[in-house]
Symmetry: C2
Subunit: 422 residues, 2 copies
């Protein structure tokens, strides 16, 4: 049973490195949560990533079964807190043979279902790393600004680490999300968006809390977080029977998971485990598309107006530089998908047994758009599904027709409400 | 990578066998959804289970890694529909070192987190089997009566199988659940409880739909369903490093999962893989407790009044005979846990990073009560957590205090709403 009992090896992490200039590095501790001090300026802030002693890695790590519990990848992650894992990762790669209008695609299509994580989104991979970092660097608590998955996931890991957690939400956050955050004993407070960052700074300076979400104008986030997303790549490689997909389509807000997936595949390539990386494709709401604009205009960072979208989990109005790196270095793309594209993908994925929040369906929507544009794929395609339909803005607003149980009434309800003729 | 690529072996299932008299068996097809015809009477109906050609089993099946995708256990399951799996099972066994008031317990305590399934509850293990059975026996659709997890899970698998699905809910079902069911394209209809079974029968007789929930007075359910729950036992055995726990505490309504967990361990014992079975402990809402009453009064089936409980997922007023078998043959117990016990367990499990619906916390509540009663356990203890907090009746009713972001206001909100003094 070697696969399930693999010992937690020590982390090979050795430094924080600037994405603004890979020659610039910083000690591993403490985590720098405000971007690279040397390369950032008022307009553009550059994230940091973690470097490892790759030469000391036992490559047998890539031969293990892709089970839950990210501590099995400990050598390639920042130092984790012992016992913090709640079974994150090891999510299924689900074959999707039953999707409509893909009849011109004869390849393999898979959905990486991140809703099968401890708090039912991909964010658990990140927060295992960020909350470990906070605890190991002596933080007295966790603060996070989020109206969705990130806040609840941070709350779960903070609770397990024994740290208090404050989640700054907005007054319009879905009520399900408030219950979700409070379920882990965290304190949810609704503050105007302009007050979030000043308050996070105060909680950091006055109380010693560590922010695990972004506090800079262009997104940099916590440097240890995106490392957790590398494990998506390690798992997909194992789940495909040690193959690299042709492309990975990723719902994209600030591009932390996009970057992590790319980095994981790039590590395997650099280590000689694989021969190439997949094309990494960002899928943003069409009404926003900050990363797409940055890439089109060859800028590290671009801003867009806060035009309406129901895909609130990925509705960023400014991109993080990580997305530019991942797309360019993988010969990928940054696609815009409309809310209607996402709604159709959401409904169709429901017919394959996977119920997404709207944002989570952006990957499949982007893949379809790419196919419609004549793109071809020489190998398996993976769409990342980030989170469950329970987080959707429309959830809890549906009703069921009430009938007495008389046959004619049932037949009428099926026809009128659902268009089912029996 | 043998563990992840194990071929789907054919099922060794060979007959339906009566729990009322194990000498009585029926052909494997068609599924008998109304209990054993020969042993049942108006007062008590006996379920059927599946028998296998155990002698033909390759015991190496118990050496594989406990990954998601139940088709890896195909030889010991009823025949599955090819491609129906959406990665059910393989859920983490989470160590729970941080629970309050267990200081007098120095053993190992684990939570089997079934919320990390495709529709975020244990029911996916059952519906993989029932929907496969319906499709393979020629059903034209699926009908299920459920106000919670079972309906949504059946809807997901029906959608993937390409079968229409009708979910009979009640007018008081949580709205989240209605959105959930509709997310898979199923038709939710609210009918009075007295009309459910007649309507299910009509859908069966007039349209050829197959019921995947119970249609008898004392619970019998679909004979193929509880077989899926055996995989919980197979996985726990692997996850404990090939050990058998001392006891498994299970939230209990109609005892389908209780029975499945017992049967899985009992199969391993009969096959010589293990030496004994764990004590199987049913945990029912104290205001109901039909199984506890049946066992106390040495009856196969008992009824209780519909006294109030918020644990709607396990609020049965009559037991299924399966629970009697599992508890008696494992030297287990049937415990009553109050809503307050469950609320405390729910809150405390939130502090370990696991957010349950109220019913789902019954296992831990029962374990605590057993400890308080002086029970001792010679080995690891497993509490099954069945489902996520998103299904809780209180979810969506919480709010967050709104503040401007001024420090004094934030301090007051933390103190007044959350009792946090900073």
């Amino acid at each position: 049973m070697r696969n399930t009992m693999i010992a937690q090896e020590p982390s090979l992490a050795r430094a924080q490195v600037s994405l603004g200039d890979p020659e610039i590095s910083y000690p591993l501790w403490p985590p720098i949560t405000t971007g690279c001090p040397k390369t950032s300026n008022d307009d553009v802030q550059y994230p940091l990533e973690i470097d490892y002693d790759y030469g000391a890695l036992d490559l047998a790590i890539f031969e293990q079964a892709p089970l839950p519990g990210l501590d099995r990848w400990a050598p390639l992650l920042p130092p984790l807190l012992d016992g913090l894992s709640i079974g994150e990762g090891g999510t299924p790669l689900v074959a999707s043979p039953r999707l409509a209008d893909l009849s011109d695609f004869d390849g393999e299509l898979y959905v990486k279902d991140e809703s099968q994580n401890p708090t039912w989104s991909h964010k658990d991979r990140l927060n295992l790393c960020t909350v470990s970092a906070a605890s190991r660097s002596g933080a007295t608590g966790i603060v996070v600004a989020s109206s969705g998955n990130h806040g609840a996931s941070a709350a779960a890991y903070a609770a397990r680490a024994g740290l208090p957690c404050i989640v700054l939400v907005s007054a319009t956050s879905p009520r399900n999300i408030i219950s979700f955050v409070r379920g882990y004993g965290a304190a949810a407070i609704a503050v105007p968006s302009a007050a979030r960052w000043p308050l996070m700074r105060q909680l950091q300076e006055r109380l010693g809390f560590q922010p695990v979400s972004n506090v800079t104008t262009s997104h940099t986030g916590h440097p240890f977080g995106p490392e957790g997303y590398k494990t998506v790549a390690y798992e997909v490689y194992a789940q495909l029977g040690r193959r690299v997909p042709a492309a990975v389509f990723v719902p994209t807000g600030y591009a932390e998971i996009l970057y992590g997936v790319w980095k994981g595949f790039d590590e395997m390539r650099r280590l000689g485990v694989t021969g190439h990386v997949p094309r990494i494709v960002a899928c943003e709401p069409a009404s926003r598309g900050a990363l797409a604009l940055a890439i089109e205009t060859s800028r590290p960072v671009a801003s867009v107006p806060p035009n309406p979208t129901d895909a609130y989990a990925i509705g960023s109005t400014i991109n993080g530089y990580r997305g530019v790196v991942a797309v360019q270095r993988s010969n990928g793309a940054a696609l815009r998908v409309s809310d209607d594209d996402m709604r159709r993908a959401q409904a169709d994925m429901g017919r394959t047994g996977i119920w997404n929040e709207l944002s989570s369906a952006a990957g499949l929507a982007g893949f379809r758009n790419a196919l419609a544009d004549g793109e071809t794929f020489d190998g398996p395609v993976v769409c990342v599904s980030t989170s469950s339909g329970f987080k959707d803005i429309a959830t809890g607003t549906h009703t069921a027709p009430e009938v007495s149980g008389e046959w004619d009434e049932v037949v009428a309800a099926l026809r009128d409400t659902y268009g089912i003729r029996v």
